[in-house]
Amino acid sequence: MKWFYIRWGGVLIIAAIIGVLGIQRYNRDVTAISPDRLLRDQPAQTVRVIGMVEAGSILKEEGAVLFQLSGEGAKIPVRYGGEESENLRDLKTVVVVGMWNPTTKTFDSGKIALVPNYGFVTAAYLISLLPMGFFLFNMERKVAMLYILIKEEKVYQPEQLTEESLESR
């Protein structure tokens, strides 16, 4: 049983590492901040901002689209220079990826993404992988236990060698 638990300990460690990497990736690439937080923190690097496209704010310029993005009581002007996107519509909640320009006080974006919905993805994977691991662990443990039981009860010994069977003959 020692090797069995060592093996499953290894599996748990690998699962934990994958989990940590997944959370790190989620924080880096998937989570988005609100316009309110963008105005407060004014980060210098590329960020993802989630908000609703204000109705009637979309203005098309040459090579760019200007609109207002609102969320949590704040509003930011966005200059979008990426490919034309069907998702850029009035009252649509979107994620814009880009950088805050403190001189023009505009958020310069080159990419528009859909709201991640990652809660559903996480739920689906956890609900599948955790019971799968538990199911497999339980089965393997049972096999190992049965081998031990059979060994302890000497079930594997041929019957003709036991005293009882000799007497009965």
Binding site: A113, L114, P116, A124, P131, F135, L146
Partner: protein, 237 residues
């Protein structure tokens, strides 16, 4: 017996099946969750596909194994094959349940409902009920021979549900999307297809590994029960 020998031979490589399944699933998960692109309309939620589709395929494969094994059992009366069928049904229930639950989670953001009376969903739920019925039948009967025979007949009759599941999206207008990979071609982007294939092969190997472990478990359980029963009967005498 041919089938028993084949099962025994395959069980020697049991560990390799487990390792290969683990590696393929890990790479598939990485590609599916990190490197593959999100869907244009569904966004990130499309990533549920990499667990839902392989689980559904493995569930149907488990039933196919159960069907083949049941035919073989009725023909040759091989108890090892019967054990394997019993194991396949248990694992089949597990994969069917995973496919139904993940499908339901996927349906909420895309169809705006957790469940709908769609032919694909209904036929799949019927498969779950047949498998549960199969296991219940096996626990009700005392006579092992009769138990195995009736269970095999139920599994063979229930197999009619499999083509219905497969072709339901073609025969009826359904909410469920049609086949992505068929004789008409592949209607899925390459960077989504590769992780999906890796996960599918990984799940098939995982099913094979689980089948070997569970068949072994059931065999050992029967062995122990039989020996204990024999010992107990001697004590009573």
């Amino acid at each position: 017996m041919v089938a028993s020998r084949l099962i025994a031979k395959l069980q020697r490589y049991e560990g390799w099946f487990g390792i290969a399944a683990g590696l393929l699933i890990m790479v598939g998960l990485y590609m599916g969750l990190v490197t593959s692109s999100p869907d244009y309309y569904q966004g990130e939620v499309v990533r549920i596909m990499y667990i839902h589709v392989p689980a559904a395929q493995s569930a149907m494969f488990a039933y196919t194994v159960l069907f083949g094994g049941s035919l073989w059992y009725l023909w040759k009366r091989d108890p090892v094959v019967d054990n394997m069928c019993h194991a396949a049904a248990g694992i089949g229930i597990f994969f069917t349940a995973i496919a139904l639950v993940t499908g339901s989670i996927w349906a909420k953001p895309t169809w705006n409902t957790w469940w709908t009376w769609d032919p694909r969903l209904i036929s799949f739920a019927i498969m779950l009920l047949i498998l549960v019925g199969y296991l219940m039948l096996r626990t009700f009967l005392e006579d092992k021979e009769k138990e195995a025979t009736y269970a095999a007949i139920l599994a063979i009759v229930g197999f009619i549900d499999l083509p219905i599941i497969h072709f339901s999206v073609e025969w009826w207008r359904t909410l469920h999307q049609p086949l992505s990979i068929s004789t008409r071609g592949v209607s899925i982007a390459r960077d989504m297809l590769i992780p999906l294939l890796l996960m599918s092969i990984g799940f098939y190997l995982l099913f094979a590994y689980m089948l070997m472990v569970r068949t072994q478990m059931l065999y050992l359980q029967h062995l122990l029960e039989a020996k204990r029963g024999r010992m107990l009967s001697k004590v009573h005498l």
